[in-house]
Amino acid sequence: MKIHEYQGKQIFQRYGIATPKGYPVFTPAEAEEAAKKLIDETKIPVVVVKAQIHAGGRGKGGGVKVVKGGPSEVKSVSEKLLGMQLITHQTGPEGQKVQRLYVEQGLDIARELYLGLVVDREARRIAVMASTEGGVEIETVAEQTPEKILIEHVDPVTGFSAFQARKLAYALDIGKNTPSPKDTIADFVKLVTKLSTLFEKEDCSLCEINPLIVTKDGKVVALDAKITFDDNASGRHKDWSELMDKAEEDPVELEAKDSGLSYVSLDGDIGCLVNGAGLAMSTMDIIKHEGGNPANFLDVGGGATKDQVKKAFSMILSSSKVKGIFVNIFGGIMKCDVIAEGVVAATKELGLKVPLVVRLEGTNVELGKQILKDSGLAIQPADTMSDGAKKIVAAVRAA
């Protein structure tokens, strides 16, 4: 689960990580008010207005504006930003609608760096990554100049050690041209250590500051905050539900999640209902292999009930882009008769207007096939995945 920059910064502040002062706002009037307050409190006339969407690359996409003309200009800038479709390299071509802004104090930036924490699957630990190449796409740095990314791993027993933070500080030459290099280094060591604690305590899967800045007076400040939480840990973080911005999520995927289903929308026209993530992914692959295009990834999971299957099938049936449906089940814990009952129940309510190919295998397969047969639905049975994929692609072409 992703959260907004301003929410990330609020969490940073709880952990004592330095951020610029700022206020989240929802209207141009609020933005003007926030700018007045900020200028009053900080005595800095420069204010930054930042569009709050979950995707990165906002600056390049025109979603971050430095305003020097005071509160009235902040208001007019906000009028333009709020409601715009912000397009960045992470949003896709349709962009994401801006509905919240963050109004923040401007700072005198001496240097922009990168600091990011992720779970390193190979090392099986948190990796702390730092780079002198801040403010740009870190993916590009990783690809073109991987030697510019410094990595230290966090031992879960001891936590992130001060010596590791110092190693990074010296390698980044963080104290370069600052009034007191010693203090700047100490500032950085504290910040990285706190961020590592935050990552672990808050069950993050990603925590990124890009850019992390050194101000002209030698302070180390998080100018950005990007946090992604590990969904598996939501059971022990009751506050996450308040942090979620449903406007940023795909409504169909949210609906599926609420029903305990795993669903991802895709661009094609063949709806898929499958049990198991691996089988669901490879069902998409085989449809593509046969020349078709999957409309979704849908894993009903191992222990789905008839109602969940019905819900899943209804979601596919009610999608306007779907021109054919492929049900591919290898029953293990999941029983084929439960799948069949769910499919029949959904079809009875919504009707079946597109071709349907069903491949059933595994536990209670005969029972499942009988239920489908007795339903009188126009179903094309398939013996294997490949047979099923061929049939649905042919049927969609013929339609």
């Binding site: 992470q90 779970v119 699957r121 190979e122 099986r124 630990r125 948190i126 870190i138 993916e139 990783a142 690809e143 031992d155 879960p156 027993v157 672990e200 069950d203 899967s205 590990d230 969904d231 598996n232 840990a233 059971g235 022990r236 795993s262 991802v264 895709l266 499958v274 049990n275 198991g276 993530a277 691996g278 089988l279 669901a280 992914m281 490879s282 069902t283 998409m284 692959d285 085989i286 593509k288 292999h289 999957p294 990834f297 894993d299 191992g302 222990g303 290898f330 029953g331 293990g332 814990i333 295998e361 595994g362 536990t363 294997t384 995945m385 490949s386 047979d387 994929a389």
Partner: protein, 298 residues
Amino acid sequence: MAILVDKNTKVLVQGITGSAGSFHAKQCIAYGTQVVAGVTPNRGGEKFEAEGPDGKKVIVPVFDTVAEAVKQTGADTSCIFVPPLGAADSILEAFDAELALVVCITEGIPVMDMVRVRRTIEGRKGRLIGPNCPGIITPGACKIGIMPGHIHRVGKYGVVSKSGTLTYEAVGQLTALGMGQSTCVGIGGDPVAGLDFVDVLKLFNEDPNTEGVIMIGEIGGNAEERGAEYIGKYMKKPVAGFIAGTTAPPGKRMGHAGAIISGGKGAAKDKIAALEAAGVRVAPTPSDMGTTLKSLLK
């Protein structure tokens, strides 16, 4: 012969009184697995009843702790069905009791818990399979996990996979071709887990009764690439491969917590290229896993 588990394996089930635990413990016992104990805190002293493959009643004693269960029954392997937020603790308890093998079925364990678990079990006796996996089966001898037993046949081919249902798919294809299995291992699709491809491939390589292997990977991480490196250097037996997720869009989690292409890494095409370079024949579609392995045999 097989790897990791056989007819002598003595299994205890952590979470045996829960709905998933009791259902699957019964299925394992019906398959013929020696389930000798159950563990659920505060339920020690209860009896768990099931039916063996011959229809005879089997009574499994329940204990409060793994240590006590091991002491009383001599169990050497654990199968875990504990809910996600308590599962890491259960894995640590099993390792503390020095079990040889710990199979964790639970899906949805927070990754930080698994980071701590991996650190704690480093250098310890015992192996971990999973979490978020179907488990392990040596057909005709021992089934530990949630896979449908009836699709398997005794034989000479190994299967190692990140995905549950795709493993069943591969096993179903092998069985239909008359190719039985030595052992099938589901290693799970989580970012931080126990045995990986290299560990299991090594065991198959050393097992005199395994004559070929199907390896099933998916997008995300680089465990497949490391597996390919091992195969290229050391594998003496034919390996057929399949990678799920060729058409998965970047940045989207495809069901499994680990199945995500991020920062340009973990794409299927890179994994397929690495496997092919190592001499693995990669099945063009998931329907061809069995026939691809067959085509490699002399």
